[in-house]
Amino acid sequence: MSLDETHAARRREDPAVSQALRDAELLAAYAAGDAGAARTLVEVQAPRALALARRMLGSEPEAEEVAQEAMLRLWRIAPKWRAGEAQISTWLYRVTANLCTDRLRRTRTQTLPEGHDPADESPDAAARLMQSDRADALSAALQKLPERQRLAVVLRHLEERSNPEIAGIMDLTVDAVESLQARGRRRLSDLLAARRRALSYKDD
């Protein structure tokens, strides 16, 4: 086995790389007319775009529009996609983030509809209510962050992407991404602490 083949084999063993290769193969299959490949890409990629758009825009209908537009751009670029140049997920997050930024600059945001019941794994209703309350509070606090901080925090802590990937999505250095996240977290902590204090005064 040559050195190049060894490197290629090692790269394929990396779950992230093998996933990226699978995604690129699916996109190539779609470009060749495979509807099944399109279905798999829709099921894997569209929820990612939608999740980011939800967190950035705070509005479900707007998030769906943005995610649909981002996916439309993916379909259109499919015949020209060159495997190995970029990961599809990174490209899609970047397009979604840019579309969200454009929309945020054009329109005022609305708050995300609340009241969604998470999967019922909690031991009791009180714990569920508390968890839902914490999620709602953080969701509201996220909307108060500046766009870049929000994007860096959402990608890291909600979408669970690595900082090098986030740097690629945001076209920044890893240091700059970490700085945005640190400031974002500090601001969120302050906002949530202020809210808790306000609630405890109300309870008293």
């Binding site: 509807a35 969604h116 969701s139 640190a182």
Partner: protein, 115 residues
């Protein structure tokens, strides 16, 4: 996903975990819209086209046609040029012999009517 720079990481990380769990599921209608876009945008060159009956060309028909043309070419090449000119000359003579066929019928009409 904790951050060592954060003064209160554990509490905030619990909030992030709560928000991750509270993420609503993706609506099937949204996924169907995205799928419809995918099918509408699928490159047309990739679509399989069925040939229409009676309009097919190629395969054995083209081989027969090419073979026939090649045979005709060989025959013309093999024939003595003199015999070819005889055939051509006969054809020309027969054409000249039929020139009255092309007489203008209107002339006869004029002669008969003394106009």
């Amino acid at each position: 996903m904790t951050d060592s720079n954060d003064p209160r990481p554990s509490e905030l990380d619990s909030d992030f975990a709560a928000l991750r769990q509270a993420t609503p599921p993706t609506s099937p209608m949204f996924l169907e819209q995205v799928m419809a876009d995918a099918l509408a945008e699928m490159p047309t060159a990739a679509l399989v086209r069925r040939p229409r009956p009676g309009r097919r060309w190629g395969g054995w028909q083209s081989i027969v046609t090419l073979g026939g043309a090649a045979l005709a070419g060989l025959t013309v090449g093999y024939l003595d040029p003199a015999s070819v000119s005889t055939v051509a000359g006969d054809a020309l003579l027969s054409f000249q012999g039929t020139e009255t066929v092309f007489e203008d019928p209107f002339t006869g009409f004029l002669l008969e009517s003394d106009l």
